[in-house]
C-alpha cells in the first residue's frame, strides 16, 4: 500500500507524465521554458539546414517566440500564457490556438492536435519539404 502511494507520487512529480490535470506553477515554468527554448533553437537552426526566404527571421524574448517565414506566408507567434498555464500559438494559416500541457505535450482541446503536429504540418508546407518539429522538447505525445 505504501509502495503504491509512493509510486503514484513519483508518477505525478515527473514533468513528462501521462496526464497533467494540475501542473504546478513551477512545473509549468520549467516545461514551457524548455518547450520554447527547444523550438527557438529549432527555428534558428532551420536556415542552416534548408533554404529559407530572405525575409526569414526568428526572435525570442520574455516568453514570446516570433518566427517570420516570409512576407507571403506570414509570421508565427508562440507565447507563454502563465496565468492559465498554457502555450498560445498564432498561425498565419490556421489562426489562434491555446494549448494545455497533457500527455507529455501541448494539446489543443478543441481538436486534440498537438502544437508540434500543427507546426510540423504547416512549416513543412511552407518550406516545401518535410521537416519534423516533434523532435523538439515535449514535442511527442505520450501514448503509453
Amino acid at each position: 500500500m505504501k509502495w503504491k502511494s509512493m509510486k503514484t507520487f513519483k508518477e505525478f512529480s515527473t514533468s513528462k507524465q501521462l496526464y497533467h490535470p494540475e501542473l504546478s506553477s513551477n512545473d509549468y515554468e520549467v516545461v514551457a521554458d524548455e518547450t520554447l527554448d527547444s523550438l527557438t533553437e529549432f527555428f534558428e537552426d532551420l536556415p542552416e539546414r534548408l533554404r529559407c526566404d530572405e525575409e526569414y527571421d526568428t526572435s525570442y524574448g520574455s516568453g514570446v517566440l516570433t518566427v517570420k517565414i516570409s512576407n507571403k506566408w506570414g509570421t508565427y507567434v508562440i507565447n507563454k500564457q502563465t496565468p492559465n498555464k498554457q502555450v498560445w500559438l498564432s498561425s498565419p494559416k490556421s489562426g489562434p490556438k491555446r494549448y494545455d500541457f497533457m500527455e507529455g505535450t501541448w494539446i489543443y482541446k478543441h481538436d486534440g492536435k498537438t502544437l508540434h503536429q500543427v507546426l510540423t504540418e504547416e512549416i513543412s508546407e511552407a518550406m516545401g519539404t518535410e521537416i519534423d518539429c516533434t523532435k523538439c522538447a515535449y514535442g511527442k505525445q505520450d501514448t503509453s
Binding site: 526572435s59 516570433t66 508565427y76 507565447n79 492559465n84 498564432s90 489562426g95
Partner: protein
C-alpha cells in the same frame, strides 16, 4: 552570434527611439473602435430574450461580456458588450456587437475570428483577441438557446 545580433538590434532600436517618433502601433480601425466603442453597456440577463456570453480569464487580463437580444423571429435586435482588456480585445468585441446586430441567430454563429482579425488588421500576436470575440458570440448564442429550451420544457411541464 545570436547574442551579438540581438544586442546590435537593441542598440539600433534604442537609437531609433531617441531620434524618430515611435510609429502608431495599433491599426486605425482598432483605434477607431477603441476610442469610439459601439454598443457599450448591459442588457437584462434575466430577460429570456437576452443571451449572455462571458469569456476569458481575469488572471490573463482579458474578460469579455457580450449580450444579444433576440426577437420572436430569431433576429438579433440589440447587442451590448463590456470588455476588460487590451485595445484589440475592446475593438474586437465592439466590432462583434456591430456585426451581430440585425443578423439572425444562424447567421451570427457563422462570424469567424479571421473575419474580425482581417477587418481590424490585427497583427499575429493579437489574433487571440478576435478568437475571444468569436467565443463570446458563441457563448451568448448558446446561453440564449439553453434559456429558451428550458422555457419550452417548463411550458410543456406546466
Amino acid at each position: 552570434m545570436a547574442l551579438f545580433r540581438s544586442s546590435a538590434q537593441l542598440l539600433r532600436t534604442a537609437a531609433e527611439v531617441r531620434f524618430v517618433p515611435p510609429p502608431a502601433l495599433y491599426h486605425k480601425n482598432v483605434i477607431d473602435h477603441y476610442e469610439n466603442p459601439r454598443n457599450v453597456g448591459s442588457l437584462d440577463k434575466k430577460d429570456k430574450s437576452v443571451g449572455t456570453g462571458l469569456v476569458g480569464a481575469p488572471a490573463c487580463g482579458d474578460v469579455m461580456k457580450l449580450q444579444i437580444k433576440v426577437d420572436d423571429s430569431g433576429k438579433i435586435v440589440d447587442a451590448k458588450f463590456k470588455t476588460f482588456g487590451c485595445g484589440s480585445a475592446i475593438a474586437s468585441s465592439s466590432l462583434a456587437t456591430e456585426w451581430v446586430k440585425g443578423k439572425s441567430v444562424d447567421e451570427a454563429i457563422k462570424i469567424k475570428n479571421t473575419d474580425i482579425a482581417k477587418e481590424l488588421c490585427l497583427p499575429p500576436v493579437k489574433l487571440h483577441c478576435s478568437m475571444l470575440a468569436e467565443d463570446a458570440i458563441k457563448a451568448a448564442l448558446k446561453d440564449f438557446k439553453i434559456k429558451n429550451q428550458s422555457m419550452q420544457t417548463a411550458a410543456a411541464v406546466d
